[in-house]
Amino acid sequence: MTFRHGYKSFFRKPENVILVCLITILIYLILVPLFSIVNDTFRVHSSELMRIKGTAAGDFTTYHWKSIFAGKYSKNIFYQPLFNTLWISITTCFIAICMGGGFAWLVTRTDIRYKKLISSLFILPYIMPSWTLAMAWLNFFKNERVGAPGLFTAFTGIQIADWFAYGFFPITIVLGLHYAPFAYILIGGILRNMDANLEEAAQILKTGRWRIIRKITIPIVLPAMLSTVLLVFSSAMSAFAVPAFLGTPVRFQVLTTQLFRTLNGTSPGYGYLIALVMIVIGAIILLTNQMLIGKRKSFATVTGKSSNISLVNLKKFRTILSIVVLIWLLLITIVPLITFAIQSFQISSGSFKAENFTTLFWLGEGRPDVLSGEPGILRNKYIYIGLWNSVRLSVLISLLAGTAGLLVGYSVVKKRGSLWANTLDRLSFFPYLLPSMAFGAIYLSMFAVRRGFIPSLYGSFAILVLIGSVKYLPFASRAGINAIFQLGKEIEEAAVIFGVSWWKRMVKIIIPIQRASVLSGFLLPFISSMRELSLFILLVTPSTKVLTTMLFQYNEKGWDQYANAIILFIVLVVVLLNAIVNKVTGASIDKGIGD
C-alpha cells in the first residue's frame, strides 16, 4: 500500500513525470547508441570482406582494433591524424582564449570606444558557420595548387607558400577566430559579474596594475577560463569543415576528416573506432570540466552587490586602439562576406576584367561550357529543395530541442540536488561533448537497421531531425535551466496555492516572464542547425540534402562560385534571423552561452 501510495504521489508531480520520461528517452537516444558503436568496432562489415579473409559480414573480429592501434598503417590512418587533431585543438584554444579574453577585458574593463559595435561584430564569426572563414581564407590565399590563385596573389602577384595557404597554420587561425567569441562571451560574463571592489581593494593597497591583473583578476577568472579551454578544445577537436577545406589540398588529415573518409569509403570499422576514440576524449573533457565547475563554487564571490566599475583609462591609446580593433573586426567579419559576393559573380576567379563578371551563378539558366551547365542558384530547383530542407529541419529541431530543453530546465531546477535531476542534467549536456561527426557515425550504426519499434531510419528526414534535436539539447537545456532558475520557485508556488494547473502555470506565468531566455533556448538550436555540416554529412541522401551539405559537395567539385553564393546566402539568413529575433524579443545567441 505504502509503495503504491508513494508511487502515485511521485507521479502526481509533473516534474517527476518529466524527469522519468526524459531520462528514459535520452538513455535510448544517447547511451544505447554508444553500445551500438562499440559493438560495430568488433564486427566485420560487408565492404570489408575482401580484406578480412574467411569471414562473413557481422562476424566478430579484432581486425579493426589491431590495425588502427598496432598495424602497419597505424601511423597514417590514426596516429598522425590524432596528433594533428590534438595539436590543432591546443593551438586553437590558445588563440581563442587570448583573443576572446583580451577583447572581453577591453570591452568590460577599459574606456575603449564603440563598445556595442565591437561586441556585436566580435560575436559574428560564432554566428556564422565556421567554414565561412575557411572559405574566405581560400578566396584570399589559395595558390595554384587548386587552380586559379586567390585575391591576394591576383592583386599583388606574390605567390603564397603552401604552409600559409593550407594545413595546420590556416586551420588553427580560422578555428581560433571562430571560437574566440565563445571565450569572449564566457570570460566577459565573468568579468562583468566579478565584483569590481576586489580590484579596487587591491588598488587602494598600492598594488600595481600588472600585479592586480596577475594576482587578482586572472586567478578569479581562471576557473571560467579553464572551462572555456575545455569546451573550445572539444569543439576544435570535432571540427570537420575547416580542416576538410583547408587541409585536403595538402593531405593534412585530422580525426574527423579521417572518419569521413573511412566511413564513406570501404572501411567503416576503422571509422567507428575513430569515432569511439573521439567520444572517449570528449568524455574525459566532460569529466574534467565537471570537476572544475564543482570546485568553482568555493570561488563564488562572497557577498554583496557589485558596485559601478571604474574603467581603465587608455588615455592617448584610446582612439587609436578603438580604430585598430574595429578595422581588425571588419577584416574578419565583413571582408569575408564581400569576397563571397565578388567570387560568386566571377566566371574565373582572380581576374577583375569587366567581361569576367557575370550573374550566371545567381540568375543564369546554365551554360554547358561552365560547370556542367548547372543553373544559377536563384533558379536552381535543387537549391530550393536544399533551402526548404534546411529551414524545415531547423524549425523542427528548434521546436523539439527547445521544448525538451525547457522541460529539462523545469524538472532539473524543481528537483535540484536530487539524483534524478543530476542524472538528467548531465545526460542532457552529454551530447555537447560528442564530436558531431562521431555522433553522426553513431546514429548511422544504430539506426541503419530496424531497432525495436523504430524502423530503419537511414535516408529518412526523421533521422536528421532526431540527431539535430539531441545534439542541440545542451544549448536548449542550459537556457531552460537558466530561465527557470532565475525565476525562483515562489512565483510558481503563488499560482499553485490558487490551484492553477501545471499547463496553465507554464503557458501563462513561467514562459511569458522568462520569454527572452526561453526563446534563446529555441533560437540556438535553430541557428546551429542552419549552419551545421558535420553532423548531417554522414546521414544525408540525395532527397534529404540540406544547404550546407550541398555547399560541401560544390566545394569538393571545385565549383567555387556556387559554394560562395550559397555560403553568402546561409550567412545572411542566419545573421538576419538572429538580428530580427534579437530586436523583437531581446533573446540572443550570446545569452544562452554566456550564463
Partner: protein, 378 residues
C-alpha cells in the same frame, strides 16, 4: 596631521548630479559619518575622497596635499593617497587565505617577511581572528569575514580609514558588537575615520561628526547630539531619531513678540520661543516637531485621548496616543504595558519643541508648548 578638505566638489554621472557643491572639512582623528538615504551621494563622496572616483569639479586635500583638482588637473590615484578602504561587501579575495589577504598590501610596500608576519599576528590578535589564518574567505562567517577585511585595511597603517556601510551585511546582534569594536578601534588606531551609513543609529552612536546628506547636498554637518537636538531642517529632524519625531501641521494664528498661537485641525498650541522670537506672518503654514521622549503620558494631562497602540520592548514602551484625529508617538521608559483603547492624557513639559517652516523645511525656532483642544468654530 591628516585633515581632509573638500572644496566645491560636484560629481555628475551624465546628466544626473550625484553630489552638488560639497564643502566639508574633516579634522584629524575625527570619526565622521556620511549619513543619508540611499542615492544621496554618500558613497560617491567617499569614493571621491579615496580616489576610486574622480569628481567632475572641485578640489580635495588630504593632509594639506592636493590630491584632486579639476582646475589644476591633479588626480592622484588611490594608491598615492595613503588611505584605507573597507568595502560594503568586504571584497575579500576568494582565492587567497586570510593570511594572504592581510599580507598582500604589505608585500606591495616591500615590507620584510618577518615584519609582515608580526603585523599580521598583531592585527589578527586584536581582531580575534588568529585561528583562521589558513582559511579561505568562503569558509568564514559574515562577522569573521568582516574582521579579516578590517585587518587587511588596517595592515599598512593608513592615515585615514574609509568605511562604506561595513555593518549592513551583518545580523543585528553582530552589528551591535562590531559597533562597539569599531569605536574602540578608532581610539586605538588613533586615525581619522570616514564612515558611510544609512543607519541613523550607527551614525549617532559612533561618530564625532555627522554629515547628513540628501539628494547630493549636505543638510547638516554637526556633532550627533546637535543634529538630534537642533536639527537644521525638517529632513534632519525626521531622519535622525527612533521612533521618529512627531510632526503636526499647523497654521500661525497670531504672531506676537512673545507667545505664538498655532492651530492644527482640531488642536490649539501656544508656542513660547526660548531664544529670540522668530518673525512669522499670520496664516503662515508651519510644522511643529515633537520628539517622542518629550511627550509625557499622564492621567491628568492637559488634553485627553485614547491609546491607539502600545509596543512594549521591555526596556521601554512606545505608545501611540490618539487625541481627536492626531496621532502622537511617545516613549515611556521601564517595562510597562498599556491597554489598547484605554484613556490617557499627554503633557508637554519640555522646552525643545521645534517649529519648522512648511515650505522650506527650515528650523525656525525652539521653545516650549502648551496644547488644548480646538473647539468647533474657533
Amino acid at each position: 596631521m591628516p585633515e581632509i578638505k573638500i572644496k566645491n566638489v560636484t560629481k555628475k554621472f551624465g546628466k544626473f548630479v550625484a553630489v552638488e557643491n560639497l564643502n566639508i572639512t574633516i579634522a584629524d582623528k575625527w570619526f565622521v559619518t556620511l549619513l543619508g538615504p540611499s542615492g544621496c551621494g554618500k558613497t560617491t563622496t567617499l569614493r571621491m575622497i579615496s580616489g576610486l572616483e574622480s569628481p567632475t569639479e572641485g578640489e580635495i586635500y588630504i593632509d594639506d596635499i592636493l590630491v584632486f583638482s579639476s582646475e589644476k588637473g591633479v588626480d592622484l590615484p588611490p594608491a598615492k593617497r595613503d588611505v584605507g578602504f573597507l568595502f560594503q561587501n568586504y571584497a575579500l579575495w576568494p582565492h587567497m587565505t586570510v593570511d594572504q589577504n592581510i599580507s598582500f598590501g604589505l608585500e606591495n610596500l616591500k615590507w620584510s617577511k618577518s615584519d609582515i608576519t608580526n603585523r599580521v599576528h598583531e592585527l589578527t590578535e586584536l581582531l580575534k581572528i588568529d585561528e583562521f589564518l589558513d582559511r579561505y574567505p568562503a569558509e568564514l562567517s559574515g562577522g569573521q569575514q568582516q574582521r579579516v577585511a578590517i585587518a587587511r585595511t588596517l595592515a599598512p597603517r593608513p592615515k585615514v580609514f574609509f568605511m562604506d556601510e561595513p555593518l549592513s551585511n551583518l545580523d543585528a546582534k553582530l552589528r551591535m558588537e562590531m559597533r562597539t569594536e569599531l569605536k574602540r578601534l578608532h581610539r586605538e588606531t588613533n586615525s581619522t575615520f570616514v564612515y558611510v551609513t544609512h543607519d541613523q543609529l550607527e551614525a549617532m552612536t559612533l561618530s564625532s561628526r555627522i554629515c547628513l546628506m540628501k539628494e547630493g547636498r549636505v543638510q547638516q554637518y554637526a556633532a550627533p547630539l546637535e543634529v538630534y537636538n537642533v536639527p537644521s531642517n525638517k529632513f534632519s529632524a525626521e531622519f535622525v531619531g527612533n521612533p521618529t519625531m512627531n510632526f503636526v501641521e499647523v497654521e500661525c494664528q497670531q504672531a506676537g513678540s512673545g507667545n505664538i498661537q498655532l492651530a492644527a485641525d482640531d488642536l490649539l498650541f501656544t508656542f513660547t520661543p526660548v531664544s529670540h522670537p522668530p518673525s512669522l506672518k499670520t496664516g503662515q503654514k508651519l510644522v511643529l516637531g515633537l520628539r517622542p521622549e518629550c511627550i509625557r503620558l499622564s492621567e491628568e494631562g492637559t488634553v485627553q485621548g485614547s491609546i491607539y497602540s502600545a509596543l512594549p520592548s521591555g526596556m521601554e514602551t512606545t505608545v501611540i496616543v490618539k487625541i481627536k484625529t492626531t496621532l502622537f508617538t511617545s516613549v515611556v521608559f521601564g517595562g510597562q504595558d498599556f491597554p489598547v483603547d484605554g484613556e490617557i492624557g499627554i503633557q508637554l513639559d519640555h522646552d525643545n519643541y521645534i517649529l519648522f517652516d512648511k515650505g522650506s523645511g527650515e528650523n525656525i525656532a525652539a521653545g516650549s508648548l502648551t496644547v488644548s483642544i480646538r473647539e468647533a468654530g474657533t
